[in-house]
C-alpha cells in the first residue's frame, strides 16, 4: 500500500535512502542538496538506519570515500550540487572507469559565475561525459521513484556504472508536493541487497582496483565501459517494468506528452516540462497539434527512440537549461539533432537556451516557443538555430 505524504524532493530522496539503508554515506554540504544529508543525519541519530555516516572535508573526498567503500564491497551514496559536482569531476570519471556503482543525488544548480544558487543544468550537463548514468525528474514523485530504481540499474552485472539521480535545485529539491511513498519493506524487497562478486574485503580473493593501463590495454577498458553504458538501456527499461509491476507507476527513457499526431514539439527536461505541458494543453484546446518530449534518461542517451518519436514532427524546439558555450547550441540540442540526422523525414530543429540561474519559465514563455515553431512549420524558415530566451534586452 502506498502512503500519501507531502515532501520536498530532498526529503523524498532522504526517505528513499532511509528505506534502502545504504552501508556508507559520505557527505559534504552544499546548497541546495544539503538537506539530504541533514535528514539522513537525523535518521542515523535516531537509529533508523545503521549506515556509516562520514562527514568528510570536501566533495572530492565524499565521492572518493564512496569509491573506497564500494570497492570494499559496500553500497555507498552521497549528494551534491553545482560547484560540489564540479569539484568531484576527476573522481566521477574514476568511479565510472573503476565500475563502482555509487548512487549520487544531484540537486542541480547553476555553476559560478556569477555565483548563483538557483536551478539550471550547468552542473550535471558539464559531467555528461563522466560515465555516470543520469536520470532526471519533473517532480518529487519522479525523484523518489528514480531513486528507488537507481541502485538496481547501477549495480546490475551488465552495467556496474555509477548513477546520478538529478532533481531541480530549489524547484524540486525544496518545494513540497503530494507524493506517494512506498512501504519500507516493499522498498527493501524491490531494491535488494548489494552483493558484488569481488571486493577488497573479500577474504578468499584479494582484489586490486585502479591500475595503470598502458596503450595496449587502455582502450579495451574504455570500450568495455562504453558497452556497459549501452547495456544500461535495456536494464533501465527492465527495472522500470518491474517497478511498474510492483508500484504501478510507469517510466521509460522519456515521456511523450500528446505526441501521437504532434507537428510542433518541444524536447525539454525536468520541472520545466510541467510548465510546458500546461502550454501544450492550452494549444491543443485551440486546435494546435502541439506535443512535448520530456527526457528522463540523458545518459545513456536514447537517441534512436527519441528520433522515432520526433520523426513525424514538422518543427522541434530543443530547450537547453544550460549554456554549453559551444557557440553552436546547448548539450541537449547537440544530442537531439545528432540523433535525428539520419531520419528520412527530419523535422526542422532549433535550440533555445532558457532559465539559467533560476530565471523563471512561464506557460506564456512556453506558448511563445510553440508560436515560433508554428511559424517555422509554416514558412520552412528556421531563423537563427540557436537563441536565448527570457533574458533582459541588452
Amino acid at each position: 500500500m502506498s502512503i500519501r505524504e507531502r515532501l520536498s524532493g530532498n526529503e523524498a530522496i532522504a526517505t528513499a535512502m532511509r528505506q534502502i539503508n545504504p552501508d556508507v554515506f559520505a557527505m559534504f554540504p552544499i546548497t541546495p542538496s544539503t538537506e539530504i544529508p541533514q535528514y539522513f543525519a537525523q535518521y542515523v541519530a535516531d537509529g533508523k538506519v545503521d549506515t556509516e555516516f562520514i562527514c568528510v572535508e570536501s566533495e572530492h573526498s565524499s565521492l572518493s570515500a564512496c569509491l573506497g567503500a564500494e570497492a570494499a564491497g559496500c553500497r555507498a551514496v552521497t549528494a551534491t550540487s553545482s560547484a560540489g559536482l564540479s569539484f568531484m569531476n576527476e573522481v566521477l570519471y574514476v568511479a565510472a572507469s573503476s565500475r563502482l556503482p555509487v548512487v549520487l543525488a544531484v540537486s542541480c544548480r547553476a555553476l559560478t559565475g556569477p555565483i548563483n544558487i538557483n536551478h539550471d543544468y550547468s552542473d550535471s550537463m558539464a559531467e555528461r561525459d563522466s560515465g555516470f548514468i543520469q536520470l532526471y525528474a519533473e517532480n518529487n514523485q519522479e525523484v523518489y521513484d528514480n531513486y528507488l530504481m537507481a541502485h538496481r540499474i547501477a549495480e546490475h552485472p551488465d552495467v556496474r556504472l555509477p548513477l546520478m539521480v538529478c532533481e531541480d535545485g530549489f524547484i524540486t529539491s525544496h518545494a513540497i508536493e503530494n507524493i506517494e511513498l512506498e512501504e519500507d519493506a516493499a522498498v527493501k524487497a524491490f531494491v535488494g541487497e548489494y552483493r558484488p562478486e569481488n571486493y577488497l574485503l573479500k577474504k578468499e580473493n584479494p582484489l586490486a582496483v585502479g591500475p595503470y593501463g598502458v596503450s595496449g590495454y587502455y582502450m579495451e577498458a574504455r570500450v568495455a565501459q562504453a558497452h556497459a553504458m549501452m547495456n544500461a538501456k535495456k536494464v533501465i527499461l527492465d527495472v522500470a517494468a518491474d517497478f511498474e509491476k510492483t508500484f504501478g507507476r510507469s517510466y521509460g527513457f522519456f515521456e511523450s506528452y500528446r505526441m501521437e499526431d504532434a507537428e510542433l514539439a518541444m524536447v525539454i527536461m525536468g520541472s520545466s516540462a510541467g510548465t510546458a505541458k500546461a502550454a501544450v494543453d492550452e494549444l491543443r484546446a485551440e486546435g494546435v497539434k502541439a506535443g512535448l518530449v520530456k527526457i528522463r534518461v540523458f545518459r545513456p542517451f536514447p537517441g534512436e527512440e527519441l528520433a522515432q518519436v520526433l520523426s513525424g514532427c514538422k518543427a522541434v524546439a530543443v530547450m537547453d537549461k544550460s549554456e554549453g558555450f559551444s557557440a553552436n547550441g546547448g548539450p541537449l540540442y547537440a544530442e537531439t539533432a545528432g540523433a535525428c540526422f539520419n531520419l528520412e523525414q527530419r523535422p526542422k530543429m532549433v535550440d533555445i537556451v532558457f532559465g539559467l540561474g533560476g530565471r523563471d519559465f512561464t506557460v506564456e514563455a512556453a506558448r511563445s516557443v510553440y508560436g515560433r515553431l508554428e511559424q517555422i512549420a509554416r514558412t520552412g524558415e528556421t531563423g537563427p538555430l540557436y537563441t536565448h530566451m527570457g533574458q533582459r534586452e541588452a
Binding site: D23, H60, C66, A69, G73, A208, V209, P211
Partner: protein, 311 residues
C-alpha cells in the same frame, strides 16, 4: 617479541618482485617492510596515491601486492581509505566480516600526494579519526613527473622547477615539517623513520602504528636515485647520513609524548648528507659556502627544538 631480522626476512614477501621501481629506489624497501609489519594472520587493504609506486606496482594486468589494493587518484588516498575503513566497520557490524577477522587499512603516498595535493584529505581523515595507518615515502619531490619541487623538497635542492643557475641556488624554502603537523592533529602515534641497519627502527614503528587504534602516521625518508642523483648502491649510506647529520631525526610521538629513537654518537655536519647527492652539487661551488652554513643552521635549530620536546 624481540625484533629478529632473520625471522622477518623469512616471512613471505607481500610486496613482490617484478614491480617496475628503479634500482636504488627506496619505495620498494618501504613497501616490503611495511607489509612485514602486518601480522601474517591479518589481511590488509592498501590505498595508494598516484605516483611512482602506483604506476610501478600495479600495471595492468600485473600487481606486485598480495593484499587487496586500491588506487583512485593523486590527492584522495586518505579519503578513499576512509571509505574502505567505513566499509570494514559496517560489514563487521552487519556480520559480513566475522568477529576476530582483522583487516588493516594502510595508506601510502609520496610526499607530493601527502604533503601537498593530498594534504586536505589526509588532514580530514586524521581529524575524523579513522582507524588507518598512513605511510609517506618522502623522496623530497614530485619524482613520477620528473623531480619537480614539493613542499618536502629541502632548501637548496636542485629540482627541475627550482634549478640552480647563475641567479639561483636551488629551492628557496625549507621543507614543510609534516610530521609535526600530524602530531598537531592529535594522532595517537606519529613517527619518523628511514631504512638503515637491520630495519628494526622502521619495523617497530610500522608495527606499532598499524596496531594502534586510530589514525597513525609514519613518515619515511625515501631516497630517489633519479631525483637525488646518486649511484643506486649509495641508498643506505645516504639514509645513514640523513640520520647522523640530524637532517632526518628518528623519533616517535605516542599520545603526544615525544621519544627520540636514535641519537647519533657524533652529530655529523650536513655536508656528509649533501655531498653524496648531485642535487646539492652547486652548494659546494666557491661563493656558495653560505648555503651549507644556512642548511647547517636550520638543521641545528630543528634538532635543538626536537631535543627539547623529547625531554
Amino acid at each position: 617479541m624481540a625484533y629478529n631480522l632473520k625471522e622477518e626476512m623469512n616471512k613471505k614477501d607481500r610486496f613482490n618482485p617484478g614491480h617496475r621501481l628503479c634500482a636504488g629506489c627506496g619505495a620498494g624497501i618501504v613497501c616490503r617492510a611495511m607489509m612485514r609489519a602486518v601480522d601474517p594472520e591479518d589481511r590488509a587493504v592498501i590505498c595508494n596515491a598516484t605516483g611512482c609506486l602506483e604506476v610501478s606496482s600495479f600495471q595492468y594486468p600485473f600487481t606486485a601486492w598480495d593484499d587487496s589494493y586500491i588506487h583512485t587518484a593523486f590527492e584522495n588516498a586518505s579519503a578513499t581509505a576512509s571509505g574502505v575503513e567505513a566499509a570494514y566497520n559496517v560489514m563487521k557490524r552487519k556480520g559480513r566480516i566475522p568477529e576476530g577477522e582483522k583487516v588493516k587499512v594502510l595508506v601510502i603516498g609520496g610526499d607530493g600526494g601527502t604533503y601537498d595535493i593530498g594534504f586536505q584529505s589526509l588532514s580530514g581523515a586524521f581529524e575524523r579519526g579513522h582507524d588507518l595507518t598512513y605511510f609517506c615515502y618522502d623522496n623530497n619531490a614530485y619524482m613520477n613527473t620528473g623531480t619537480q619541487r614539493s613542499s618536502a623538497t629541502p632548501r637548496f635542492a636542485n629540482a627541475t622547477t627550482t634549478p640552480a643557475g647563475t641567479e639561483s641556488v636551488g629551492k628557496k624554502q625549507n621543507q614543510k615539517d609534516l610530521t609535526q603537523i600530524m602530531v598537531a592533529h592529535g594522532s595517537p602515534y606519529v613517527a619518523q623513520t628511514t631504512m638503515f641497519g637491520n630495519m628494526k627502527d622502521f619495523h617497530e614503528k610500522a608495527h606499532r602504528a598499524i596496531y594502534t587504534q586510530g589514525p597513525t602516521f609514519v613518515n619515511v625518508l625515501t631516497p630517489c636515485p633519479r631525483g637525488w642523483q646518486y649511484p643506486a648502491e649509495d641508498l643506505l649510506a645516504i639514509c645513514k647520513a640523513a640520520i647522523d647529520t640530524c637532517i632526518w631525526p628518528l623519533y616517535e610521538v605516542v599520545d603526544g609524548e615525544y621519544r627520540l629513537t636514535y641519537e647519533p654518537k657524533k652529530k655529523l655536519p650536513v655536508e656528509e648528507f649533501m655531498s653524496k647527492q648531485r642535487r646539492f652539487k652547486h652548494c659546494f661551488k666557491p661563493g656558495n659556502e653560505w648555503t651549507i652554513a644556512a642548511a647547517q643552521e636550520y638543521v641545528d635549530k630543528k634538532w635543538e627544538d626536537l631535543l627539547m620536546k623529547c625531554k
